[in-house]
């Protein structure tokens, strides 16, 4: 009835990717962990293992984590080959030990992608996502320049759909799950969020072209429409947004080819 009495404690073998630094060789190392409460979260299990390692004089396993409630997008483990581990629509921090059985061997690896180089053990550098955002993942609205919030009505279905896309937590699970390490779902979510709103129209073409070209330059792979990304996404963001971005990209490409270039962009003579 009460959770902590429902199941027995479990013991597991943790097979963890250990890598001392970015250009160091890495390897799997096995650790035994005993008597774990099934109500413990996966990251709490790692905390416990790390304290044990510390006391033994070994270096603890480095892993990324912060909010531990599935919203900040920091945690990023591949558990038994699945980005964020067992369960649907959750991040690594929302995995609980009850998802495993006594005696299980659990393989834990970092998200693997050339664009996400390993920093240490299970931690990767996902700053490539920031670079994509910096290329165009915004609506230019200088502070103070905004009109009244209700000056521009947004149809509710558009706002709701934009919110679906905007729910992305930027964790990189889509890249990790994609067999090609493609960032299409991440980029599509941002392009769609802003492209669905009337505020985002002025920069719509420029945004999709710039974000896609930055994505390509950073060494992400290409989409082969297998949709592993949306299945692994902790927010279950749909790959429909990828189709939407493809359409946007095609349209932007064609428009850019036929649009006459303005003569000048300078300010007034003042």
């Amino acid at each position: 009835m009460v959770a902590e009495n429902t199941t027995k404690n479990l013991s597991i073998t943790l097979r963890v990717w250990r890598q001392a630094g970015p250009n160091q060789p890495g390897k799997f190392v096995d650790y035994q962990s005993k008597d774990l409460n099934p109500n413990m979260s996966f990251l709490e299990m790692l905390d416990v293992v790390n304290d044990e390692l510390t006391l033994k004089g070994e270096e603890p396993i480095a892993f990324a984590h912060d909010c531990r409630e599935g919203i900040c997008g920091t945690c990023s483990c591949t558990i038994n080959g699945k980005a964020h581990g067992p369960g649907k629509g959750i991040a690594t921090c929302q995995v609980y030990m009850r998802a495993f059985r006594d005696g299980d061997v659990i393989t834990v690896e970092p998200f693997r992608a050339t664009a996400f180089p390993i920093v240490k053990d299970l931690i990767t550098d996902r700053s490539a996502f920031d670079k994509i955002q910096q290329a165009g993942g915004f609506i230019t609205a200088r502070t103070g320049s905004a009109p009244d919030a209700n000056a521009l009505p947004v149809p509710k279905p558009d706002a709701d759909l934009a919110m679906d896309a905007a729910a992305c937590i930027g964790c990189g699970a889509c890249v990790a799950a994609c067999k090609n390490a493609s960032a299409m779902l991440f980029v599509a979510a941002k392009v769609s969020h802003l492209g669905l709103l009337p505020q985002g129209q002025a920069e719509r073409d420029q945004r999709v072209l710039a974000m896609v070209s930055t994505m390509d330059a950073l060494g992400f792979g290409n989409c082969t429409n297998q949709y592993e990304c949306s299945a692994a996404c902790p927010k279950l963001i749909t790959h429909d947004f990828i189709a939407r971005m493809n359409r946007d990209y095609l349209g932007a490409t064609l428009r850019s080819a036929f649009k006459p270039a303005p003569l000048g962009t300078g300010g007034g003579a003042g």
Partner: protein, 257 residues
């Protein structure tokens, strides 16, 4: 960047090239099948059809060039994307797991290779005559049309036209070799699997797919691929089952030669 740059250098651009060339090739294989199914009618049909295509001259070559360009671009884009994809993963996972990707989608590269091999053989067999030269159409006695061959109601090849290539007997004689037929059947089977993901995929790439109708789209793709496979199976199948026989006279003539 300009239009060509966007299309040929970006990931989505090359995907669009994959999709558009794929669409052209789907159109081609579908049309090809419909044309070929005329084999179940009198030989006048398929032979007249062959004669008609040849009579197009430059137009035929335009069509051929479009198809060849599509094949080349399709393969180029696939290769370029695949090489990048390999590089993008870097170190592979120690523990591999797939959540939902379909078998068809995961086998695209392999079905593609085999279809390419088949394509080359098929051209050698029925178009250029480098394989099974004995039964190649140029080496068979020529055929004289027994009736008019009409395209869209207009007479394309008149009855009595002599010196028509005997496509009918070439196909039937060719498929009487069970190994050739088996290879053909396996290859179109794999091509159907290739198309299954390809059709779904091209709609996604061109941005014409979403949750509202993706299930419907998938069903349509399954039906199309199944029809395509059965249509292609029918020809060697009928030959092997003895339902399609070479016309005795021609066979005799060929042997006499």
């Amino acid at each position: 960047m300009n239009l060509v740059g966007y299309l040929f250098c970006s990931s989505i651009g090359r995907k669009i090239i994959m999709a558009v060339t794929g669409l052209i090739l789907i159109g081609f294989v579908a049309g090809h099948l419909v044309g070929n199914l005329q084999i179940f009618q009198e030989p006048d049909h398929i032979n007249g059809y062959g004669q008609f295509l040849h009579s197009l001259g430059a137009l035929l070559w335009v069509a051929r060039l479009v198809i060849i360009a599509s094949v080349v671009l399709h393969i180029w884009a696939a290769t370029a994307l695949t090489l990048e994809n390999k590089k993008a993963r870097g170190t592979d996972y120690g523990f591999k797991h797939t959540i939902q990707a379909t078998l068809a989608s995961r086998a695209m590269r392999w079905t593609g290779y085999i279809v390419l091999a088949f394509l080359l053989y098929h051209l050698a067999h029925f178009t250029v005559g480098l394989a099974q030269t004995g039964t190649f159409k140029e080496n068979l006695p020529h055929y004289t049309m027994g009736s008019d061959y009409r395209v869209a109601g207009f007479v394309a090849v008149k009855a009595g036209t002599p010196e028509v290539l005997d496509v009918y007997n070439m196909v039937v004689l060719g498929f009487q070799n069970p190994i050739v037929s088996l290879f053909y059947i396996i290859a179109v089977g794999l091509l159907s699997v290739h198309l299954l993901h390809g059709i779904d995929s091209l709609f996604q790439t061109l941005g014409l797919r979403n949750a509202k109708w993706s299930a419907g789209l998938h069903k349509i793709a399954v039906v199309l691929c199944l029809v395509y496979f059965l249509g292609n199976l029918a020809i060697p199948g009928a030959v092997l089952a003895g339902k399609l026989q070479p016309r005795a006279a021609s066979v005799a003539a060929a042997h006499a030669k």
